[in-house]
Amino acid sequence: MSPAGGAGRPGVAPGQADPYAWRPGTVVSTTPLSASGRSVVVAVPGLRSARAGQHVDLRLTADDGYQAVRSYSLSDVRGTHGDPAVAELEISVEQLPDGEVSPYLVEAAEPGDPVEVRGPIGGWFVWPPTEFDPDSAVHAVLPEPEGAPAPTRSPVQLIGGGSGVAPLVAMIRSRSERDDAPPMRLICSVRTPRDQWFAPELEALAAEAGPDLAVDWVFTRDAPEGAGRPAGRLTRERLLELALPAEQHPLVYVCGTNGFVETIAGWLVDAGHDPTRVRTERFGGA
């Protein structure tokens, strides 16, 4: 188990930098996404290269020493792939009513503000997927479905509810950096056209990629002119019509509230999707 004794955090050998230590960062820029959401770019010198789908913990400290820690999915990891001295990450935050940290990030944070960062964290809800050591317990109990392409070669279906699109956007942006990427589709459920995060950028990337990248929006409360169908919740029929079929053994990433994720994942498994290929990330309480 942990080789370390004595001082320092368990699991970190003496003299070795702790990859999960808090690092000082600085807000670089902010970009509005909707009336209640915005992206915040944070420069974190020395940050490790992050993978699309990972999250970080942010720690904010008030003048009187009060601290708050929250986890946020990264919406862009490309700024961590070059020189670590100038690493930048992006998070995309929806303001929660009665929130403690999200109102600061969405309304108050300004370039120059300090924020500490721990991470990046996570290795399951990531694309490209982790290739597990054949000896690992994970590999032993999650055998690949028969006839399925290797996870790194499988087509990818992304399904996001509201701000759950953030880590999925990171995946699409990372895909745009690669020459050999498999096809990717995104289904994004939002309340109204005003809640579409990243729409122009996603549409530009899709136009550039041709048939290998598609973005479908589902409007639950208010559909735009020319949407072709009235607003309404994402139904099982509509999901199965839009999503890559089970026969293609896609890797599926679903992110949203617990209710959204539970419903979507259940429909996919009922429709024959391999349960071990449906990866989920949830936010909010039950």
Partner: protein, 192 residues
């Protein structure tokens, strides 16, 4: 520059909360995939000396204990005074000798987690089937989950299928992806 002022509703400190944790009133659900479809429940308990297989009826017939305690999730929420009922691992391993120091817990659906055996014996761990007086709901790991309240809650494997001792520690699911091999919330062993 304005900076964070913490001028919103602040969360209260509480000595029962380990470092970096906050109090949660609801019961958030976290799982890596869909809730598994369990057709016939059976629990396997094994060491290098022997194996034991329990049907649901066998499991129900074992003495259950009520446990009221705090739980701590690595995603930083804690819940205080939760009430569970289940079978102690001392009972499940009773009569199965072992020289091994570790256990791999496996779940329906493919989840795994590794734990030191001494964190599971001596009244520290249970297989629970009841939460707050009700049968454990599937999204919280029902019909039965491992319950090791002394460690971060990802160690309390949902939809438990088996407990197998190991001579050498082998990393489970989250432990293969950057989460700590041990997971003591009071030492903040979140990631490794």
């Amino acid at each position: 520059m304005a900076g964070f002022t913490g001028s919103g509703r602040r969360r209260e400190a509480d000595p029962r909360l380990p470092p970096g944790q906050h109090l949660e009133q609801g019961f958030p659900v976290l799982s890596a995939g869909p809730v598994p479809n369990i057709k016939r429940w059976e629990l396997q308990v094994g060491t290098e000396q022997g194996q034991r297989s329990l049907s649901w009826a066998d499991f129900q017939a074992l003495p259950h204990e009520e446990v009221v305690t705090d739980i701590h999730c690595v995603t930083s929420w804690s819940k205080l005074g939760t009430r569970w009922s289940g079978v102690s691992l001392d009972t499940l391993f009773d009569g199965l000798e072992t020289e091994h120091g570790f256990v791999l817990a496996t779940s329906y659906g493919g989840y795994t987690t590794n734990l030191p055996l001494d964190e599971l014996l001596g009244g520290k761990a249970w297989v629970v089937d009841t939460y707050e007086g009700q049968p454990l709901h599937a999204e919280h790991g029902g019909p039965a989950r491992l319950f090791v309240p002394g460690l971060y809650f990802w160690k309390s494997a949902k939809w438990l299928q088996g407990l197998q001792t190991m001579a050498v520690d082998r990393r489970g699911f989250w432990e293969s992806m950057g989460y700590h091999g041990h997971g003591d919330p009071w030492r903040e062993e979140r990631y490794a």
